[in-house]
Symmetry: C3
Subunit: 351 residues, 3 copies
């Protein structure tokens, strides 16, 4: 497996190491005049780059990296390589990357001439509406919100202030979005919940008359789906962060500050408390609750309610220690089966 | 975990309970003059609301709900609370919610001036084409069908009568859709099937020359994908209901009245009989069949054909009773392992 | 389960079998004058059709098919039915299907009047830009590339030559795409990676300042997502083929000629070697490596690095033989548990 360097898009900026230390509020260990011309990950760095080290996972790379300098934490002692010591190397490195990046100029306020904005829609001050966006009757867009190209906002949709609604997002009729929300490309907010009544062989659609309510500071990933409630709101509370391709069914409630990783599916009417974490590809049945602070491991299948603070894993999801013990014993099954066969032989009456 | 009330978007309507009973063809138990000013779920209801109770799961809430009245089934006897008794509380409640909802006026027939409709495309009477939709050469849209904003219909695509094709749907060239079909936002019909021939190290694309055929009364969820066949049709038969983010690979056949829940994946050339149910996040390998009326449990991994009427679950999917027994015994593995260790000790020859 | 014939969209072409043999460089066994009027799968064929047989799975159908002729491999001996013998029946059949298909005329070069192309964007010779596409400032589109309806290319996005970017694809700012790349409808390239720092109860977004780099001859499926790197590139190397609804997180590297089947999820910073195969719905944790030529079975949960050439399966993923043995023994658990109970009884001291 080859590992070719991957570089951020070319930059012609250059900084002295002491300038970088000043930028991040850190202290230099080594030559303060070291010239820094780029930023990179610790494995991919080339001479001239600065990189950072916060995860102990990458400690072995400290002596191997080709970087000219490393941003790291205050407990790291002198090294052959120039260092910048800070309280939070990861945050410091983000600042440095931004210093090397082309400044991204925010889109101009105003409505692109190709956008279709209904005369009854209300746009706050400083709103930017991208090309081919469609804002239907009675919709409302808060101050300084940026609506990307091709975004669709249905009738009486409401989007708050300082939001970033990326290209091709759909927000269907009557759904409401809080302030400082980010919706990534292709996310669909407010499609009909999946509900049918069986009549003979056929399934008859149950009207989905509710809506979706998304509170402040939520982020929802690309091509993720949040269905509208059957007659009330599907509700994503403030600060929840939802990754790409996640499915949130009708009537679900997601508590404050939830973290829901990619491809998770949450079935109808399930309610999550606050600060819940659900790792990737897990699935939850409908009509259960997940308590405050609970953690659900990757790819778990959750079929009953999870208490506050519990950490569960597996299929079916159980307390993590239990699942780990079972998985370990499952791996020992060949041995156990052999033991049982031998025990049976020993106890068989001689022929 | 807090549970704040979630209310449907504000309504200023008010009904007397006897008016509601008349609307749903039910009978009042209690004060027929009770004023009803809103609708809500049984847990979230506030005074003035009417709610409903059909699932036994929510029985304990009947005495606790703050609702002013409850729609329920005829076998429920008198309660402190005014009731409306009906044969089908769920359907009755849907009618009541509709009475409280703003009437959604259907989009006007006609083609939005920003839509791009090829001169050779044929539009039936009463068709509505939304802003920025694109209808390519030779495509055909049936009477009264509503094409949402930004929808793409490829060359010779055919969409039947009375369909609802929501914003941002793609129907690629030569795919055909029946009557009364609903396609939700972002669904992709007719992307190329995933087929390659390996030549040396590289994979060479096998042309996907078939199409997708979707029959009457099908519903397909947001951001779901149905790939075109390699040289024939991928076929979704009438009445099938497919949820969000489902993957249907090339050459698959989905039988009539299937229910396929979110995030399921069905691999190439697999064929489902009629009235099959597949619960969320299950996966099926290619080139198998699933018999009429079979049920596949959530998150099952189906690696061989499933007979008519079978109910399977698990990874690999097995008859549900078998899987449940195995899962229960798996949980008892620590105990079994301990027993085996003790048995071995007992049978060891004394040192 | 009924099996109604599925026919490709009608054709009025007709060929003699010897013409078809000449087209595919094969030899006729049987009547060279047999009239062929259509193409079909072996099970669905009707008289007049030609079909093909390459998979041994379908051998029993050879005598049963209603097709008038069959394309098959040189080792098949004479049959009642006219045959065309070739080295590669599958590739030969694709040629025949193309001969029967309406020739698809490529879209005209040029920019549709409804497209919004920034004056600083550079378009190569022969580029076709579809209706309502949006090409932002500084973007670059290579020669002969076809940009579909409603596609969005962000600022400084770069797309190579001879690409096919289907309707509604988003390529966000600064992402770069090689030559001969196919992106299917709704794919999202360059959404922000999922990264937050916890501060108190809240999660604060970590800026995602990197980009996505996609090399030559890559294909990415409908509604799939490839997130931009945190500060470097998420990188899909040349020849990789990625199916629908796949999630590729930030900083991931996918090696050359990878095959990644639908609904797979790959977590942040994981790196794949070349010629890796990942079957459908598998999930990989972050920060691991998968060696050259490794194969990961369907629905596997991969929680640690996989060496070169390994074939792993299961939850957690283990070498396939091990997983198969464990799964088989798991199915025998009822029997093992019974044995243990009986052994315990035998060894109990008599009451």
């Amino acid at each position: 497996m080859t590992s070719t360097p991957r570089k951020n898009s070319g930059s012609v900026r250059s900084f002295r190491l002491e300038e970088i230390a000043a930028l991040v509020g850190g202290t230099v260990l080594g030559d303060p005049g070291t010239a820094i011309t780029g930023v990179s990950g610790i494995k991919e760095a080339v001479p001239g780059d600065i990189t950072f080290l916060s995860s102990p996972k990458y400690l072995p790379y400290l002596s191997q990296t080709a970087a000219s300098a490393v941003i790291t934490s205050k407990d790291v002692t002198a090294d052959a390589k120039p260092l910048v010591l800070t309280d939070n190397p990861s945050a410091a490195f983000t600042k440095v990357v931004q210093a090397f990046s082309e400044p991204v100029e925010p889109p101009q306020p105003g409505t692109h001439p190709t956008a279709v904005v209904h005369p009854t829609a209300r746009l706050g001050q400083g709103v930017s509406i991208g090309p081919h966006a469609v804002i239907e009757a009675g919709a409302e867009i808060g101050e300084r919100t940026v609506i990307g190209a091709g975004v669709y906002v249905g009738r009486q949709g409401r989007i708050g202030k300082d939001c970033r609604i990326d290209a091709h997002v759909c927000v269907r009729e009557r759904c409401s979005i809080g302030d400082r929300v980010i919706l990534h490309c292709g996310a669909v907010i407010g499609a009909d919940g999946f509900g049918y009544e069986r009549i003979g062989e056929a399934y008859v659609k149950i009207p989905q008359l509710g809506d979706v309510r998304i509170d402040d500071d939520v982020e929802i990933g690309a091509n993720a789906c949040v269905d509208r409630g059957r007659f009330q709101s599907t509700w994503i509370k403030s600060g929840a962060k939802i990754d790409n391709l996640v499915q949130i069914a009708h009537n679900v409630v997601i508590g404050e500050h939830a973290i829901i990783v990619a491809q998770v599916g949450i079935s109808g009417s399930t309610e999550l408390g606050k600060s819940v974490i659900i790792a990737g590809q897990a699935g939850l049945v409908g009509h259960i609750t997940v308590g405050d602070g609970a953690i659900i491991g990757a790819r778990s299948g959750v079929s009953k309610s999870v208490p506050d603070g519990a950490v569960v894993l597996g299929e079916p999801a159980r307390p993590i220690a239990e699942t780990k013990r079972i998985v370990a014993l499952t791996a020992r099954l060949p041995e156990i089966a052999k033991d049982v066969t031998e025990l049976k032989k020993k106890l068989e009456p001689p022929a």
